[in-house]
Amino acid sequence: MKIQFTLNGEKVEAEVAPEEKLMDALRRMQLWSVKHGCETGDCGACSVLIDGRLTPTCVMFAAQADGHELETVEGMAPRHELHPIQQAFVDTGAIQCGYCTPAMVLATQDLLRRVSDPTEAECREALSGVLCRCTGYVKPVQAMLRAAAMLRGDPVPPIESEGIPVSLEPVGQAGPDDDEAQVGGSGTAVTTQPKVDVRAPATQQTITQVVAHSEPKVDAVKLVKGRPVFTDDMDLPGTLHAAILTSPHAHARIKSIDTSRAKALSGVEAVLCYKDVPRVPYASGGQSYPNPHPWDQVSLDSKVRYVGDRVAVVAAETPELARQALELIDVEYEVLPAVFDAEQAMADGAPVIHDETDVVGIEDAQRNIAVKLHTEVGDVEKALAGADHVFERTYRVHQVQQAHIEPHVVVTYWDDDDRLVIRTSTQVPFHVRRMVAPLLGLSVKQIRVIKPRIGGGFGGKQEMLIEDLCGHLTLATGRPVRFEYTRDLEFSSARSRHAQMLRYRAGVDDDGTLKGLDLYVVEDTGAYGTHGMTVCGVTGQRGLATYRCEDLRFVGDIVYTNKPVAGAFRGYGAPQAEFALECLMEEIAAELNLDPVEFRMKNSLRVGDPIAITAELGEAGRVAAQMVTSSTLPECVAQGAAAINWDRRESPEWRVDPSRPHIRRGLGFAMVMHGTAIAGLDMGAASLKMNDDGSFNLLVGATDLGTGSDTVLAQIAAETLGVPLEDVLIYSSDTDFTPFDVGAYASSTTYISGGAVQKAAANVRKQIFERAALMLGVGVDGMSLKDRHVITQDDLSVSLEKVALHSLHTEDQRQIMSTASHMSMVSPPPFGAQYAEVEVDMETGAVTVVNLVMAVDCGTPINPQGATGQIEGGLVQALGYAVSEDMVYDEKGAIQTRRLGDYRIFQADEVPEIQAILVPSYEPNGPFGAKAVAEIPMDGVAPAVANAIRDATGVQIRDLPFTPEKVWKALGH
C-alpha cells in the first residue's frame, strides 16, 4: 500500500506492506538512527517524533504514519553541523554506547519545543520513554538542561577539566615510590567535591594537557547524529534473514526432526539442524586460548538442555518468512526430567544434564558439577578455632540479565577473496575469530571479524553466542545472512549473571580483628559451563581478598541446571561475593557492637599489603600474589560519608516521617575492591603511525562497547605525543587491520590496551625526536613535544607536520610508526566506598532507594567525565540488581520475564539521586597512574541497600532482590 507523510520537512511517498512495522520501514529507508531494542515499545530506542511527540515505532505499522509529520535526528542539522541539543549531549558526556542517543536527543527536542526552561523532573519524565543501560541518566539530564539554556541563549559553563603532573614514560619504566603513591589519609576535613589530587611521580615532566581532562568522546559526533555505525546499520544486497527455533522443553532428546516442510517454503534458503553441521565441542565464553573447560557445547545438538536452547536455524528472504519457516519444522521430543536448583542438581538421582560422550573437561557429569574449585591459604580451621567468635551465614544471589539495548546481532558474508566476514556486535572480536573457525571448518586466516560500534555489552557480548550459526547459514547458502536476537530471545537464549549460594564462616576476635574466612559457593551455570569456572574464581577472589586476613579457604561448585546459561556480566562474580561479604561484615559489626565502618577500616587493605588469595585463584593459573600498590580508600570512605550525610544515622528523628508513619529511613555502607585486568593473561596491542600533516592513526584491537575506551586510548597517545586529541584518529577493531587484543572485559582496556598505546606512542615519540634531531642538527637530549611541535632544550622547534613530511618525503625516508604490546603480571585493585539511603514501608515491604553515593579510587581518571559516567551508569544497573531485576521461571523452566517492562530496568523518572565522587590515587603500574573503573560500581549497591534496610528495620535480608513481598515477609508479616 502507498502512504504519504512528511519526513524531516520533506513530503515522502512510500510503498509499505500492511504488516510492515514503522521501525522497519524507516530503517529500510536508511534512517539508521531508528534503532531496534525490543518489540514492545518498552525501550524507546526506535522512537521518532510523530507530529512533534516522541513515539516508539516498533509497535506501529508503517501504514499508521500516513498523513503525519515524522522527524528523526537525521533531519536535525546539516551533515557537518550539530544542533545545540546534539552539542549539549556531546559536551556533557551524555553519550556512552550511543545506541539510544538519537531517541534521547529527540526526547529533548520534543520537551524543549514545549517547555523552554524545564525542571529536572520534566526532563526526566520526557526521557522516561528511552531506556539507557549505560549512563544512569545523570549526564543525559544535564545535557537536556544545558541544551535548554543554549536554546534560550543563556550562557553555559565550560565543562570542568583538570590536568595532572605525570611522567610521560610508559608503564613499568617510571612510577612513584610507595610513599608518593599513598594519597589521602584519615579523611578528616574533607569536602564532597570530586578531587583530582594525584601525587606526581618523581620523574614528572609536565602537567597533562589531554590526560585527566574531560575530553569529548571521539565517537560522540557520529553517535549523536545517528550515523550508520552499528552492526545492523547496513544494507547488503541479497541478504538473507535468520531465525532460530528454540526448545520448548527444559530437558529433552530430539527423537526426530523433519525440516522438509520448512525447506519447501518459497523464499527459504536454508534450514539447519544437528544433522547438518559438524559436531565440534567448544565453550562459548570469549576467553583466552585455550578456552577454560568444560567444552560442553556444539553448534546444534540432538539434545536440548533448557527452554530456549538451540534446535534449528533458518535463513530466508525476509524475517517474516524465516519466522514462518520455524513453524514448519516438525520436531518430536523425548522429554526428560529436569532440575532447576543447583543444590538439588548435585544430589543423588538428579537428572544428568550432560550425558554425551564427547564433552571435554566436565568435573563430575553424574552429579552435574561442571567444575570444582578448592584452594586454601594458611590454616583456616585453626584460625577459626582460635578466634573469639565464629559467624556462619548463608547468602543467596539471583540470576539477572545484562539487558544491553542493542540485541546480539551478526551479519556474515563472503568477501571478494572468498573469506568469511563476520560483522558482529562483540566485545571479543579476536576470540570470536579463533573460536568460530573450527566450528565452521575454516582456518583463522579465512575469517575476518569486524567489530563496529557496540550498543552496550556489559559482558553479554563476551561470548561467541550466535556468530557460529550465522556463519553456518552463509556457508550453506553462499549469501549474506543477518541474524539478530529479539528481546524475547535475549531473555531466553542469551547469557546472564550467575545465581549463587554463598556460605561464609568467619572468625573474629573481640577487638574486631578478622582471623579467618571460609567461603563455600554453589554456582548455577545453567545448561552450559562457558564462564562458570572463571566467574566463580572471581567470586572467591573478591570474597576473600577485600580485607586483611591470612587464613582463607575457598571451595566452589559450578553446577549445571536446566536453566538458560549464565555467563559474563559486569563485575563477573564480584557483585555476588561483595553482597555476601559486605552483609556479613555488617552482621558481625552489629553482633560485636562495633561501628560498621570502623570495623571494616580496621581490617581493610593498605598500600603494601599482599593479596594472598590471588596467587591461588588467578585465571592465568598460579601467579605471584598481588599487592596493593595504590589506594585512597580512607578518603573514599570519608568523602562518601560526607556526601550522604552519614551522621544522620544517629538521629532518631530522621528515621521517621510523621506524615508517613509506616516509613522508616536507613543508611547503609559497603566497602568494595575490584581488579584491573587479569594478571598474567590479558594482552593488548596498538599500532600508531604518523601522517603527512603530523596527525596519527591509532589502530587498536580493544573494543569500545560504549565505555569510552577509544577516547581514553586516544588521550593517552595524544598526551604522549604532545598533540590535541583531534590529531589522533583511532580505529577499533577489525581482525584484519588492528593488532590483537583480548577484548573488552575484566576492567582491562585502559590499563592493558592503554599500556600498549603508551608504549607505541613513546616509540613514535622517540622516532620523532630522532627525525627532529636530523632536521635541526642537534641531539635528542632534552627534547619534548608540545602543541604539535618538537621543542629542543635550546628552545628550537619544528612542527610535527614538517617532521612527518621530512620523514616521508625528504631524506632517509621512512614511516614513523610503531606497534607495541602490553600485558601485566599485576592487577592493581581499585577501591570504592558505597552508600545508600532507603525508605522502607513497614506495612508493604516496599523499599525506595532515595540516594546512592559512591566514592571511587580508580587511580588517575584518564577522562574524569567518562569515569563518572561509568560510575553513574553502574550504580543504576546495580540498583536494578538490588531491588527489581530478576529472571523468573515457571515450574517447567520457561522464563516469565520475557520483556524489558516485566524484567524492569530503571527508567529516567524513577532513579534516585546519584553522586559519583572520584578520589584518585596514582597507580604506578598503570598508564599515567590509571587503574580500573568500569566494573566496581556494580559491586557495592546491593549490600549497601541491604545494610540500609537493616539500619531502617533491624532486619538483615540475605537474598536478592529486595522485592516488596520478600521484605514484607522478612519483616515478620
Binding site: M1, A17, P18, E19, K21, E39, T40, G41, D42, G44, S47, I50, R53, L54, T55, P56, V59, M60, F61, A63, Q64, G67, A107, E125, A126, L127, S128, G129, V130, E320, R323, Q324, E327, T486, D841, E843, T844, A846, T848, G880, V883, S884, V888, D890, Q896, T897, G901, D902, R904, F906, Q907, D909, E910, P961, T963, P964, E965, W968, H973
Partner: protein, 282 residues
Amino acid sequence: MKSAPGEILRPKTLEEAGSLLVKLGSEAGLLWLGARVEPPETWARASMIDISGLGIDTINVTDNEVVIGGATPLQSLVEDQALEKAFGGLVNAAARRLAHYGLRNLATIGGAMTSPSGPPELALALLALGSQAVFVGTEEMIVPLTALWSGGEESGRGLLKELHVPRSSAAHKGWGLEWLARSPMDQALVAACAAVEVKDGMIVSPRLAVASVGMTPRLVSQADARLTGASVSGWTSDELVQSVGEAVAPEYDFRASAKYQKDMMARLAGRAMAAALKKAGA
C-alpha cells in the same frame, strides 16, 4: 500462511468503524494500543481498522460530566488542565502511571480500557468516579465500567467511542490513589483508588476500586456499603480489610503471590480511603 495484517481499513465514520468491527468479528482488530503492548505480530489480525481521524481523540468538560474520546492518547490525559480541574488531578495522575512518556503518546484510553492485563491505575480512577463506556457497533451501547471486564469481546461490543465521567458524583471531592511496585514507575503489583465526599462529618458516596497483577480492576461494593454513612472519625481500616477480603481473589503472578496481593489490596485500600477523606476535608 500469511503475515497479519493483510489489510489496513480506514473507515470514514464511527458507525462504519463499529459496523466493521462487529461484522468482521475476530478477524478484525483496532489499530490502537493500551499501555502494555505486545509485539504487533501477536495481536495483529487479518484486517486492522485505523480509527485515527474519526474525531474521538478529544476531552470535553461540561458542568455535568467529562467526555473522553476513546482514541485520546494517554499523554493528553496527563496534560489536560480542564480534566485536572474537574477531578483534582486524579485522572491525570492515574494516566501518568500507566506507561512511560513515549508509549503514552501512542497508547489511547480506549486501548488501555480494553486491555485488562495492563497497568490498572486509570481504570481504578475511572471506576471510582463512576464512569461509563459508550461503544459503537451496529448500534450504540452504554456499558458501566464495572461491567467492562466481565465478559464480552471488544469486537462484539464494537468500538469504544468515549468514556463519560460524571461530575455530579460527589466522588471528585476527595480521592486517594495508592500503588505498590518493585520500582517507583514499575507496573503496580497492587493498586487501590478511593473517591469520597464528606458531609457533616459523615462519609457520603464512597467508592473504592482495587486491582492487582493477578486480578482485573473491580469496585469493592461491600466497602462502599460498609462505609456509607459512617463517621469520618469512626471508620476503621479493618472494615476495609474485611470488605476487600470478601471481594477479591487474586491469582499468582511471578511478581507477587496471591496472598500478598490480597493483603496489600486491603492495606492500600485503607490508605487510599484515608487519603481521600483527608482531601475531602475530613
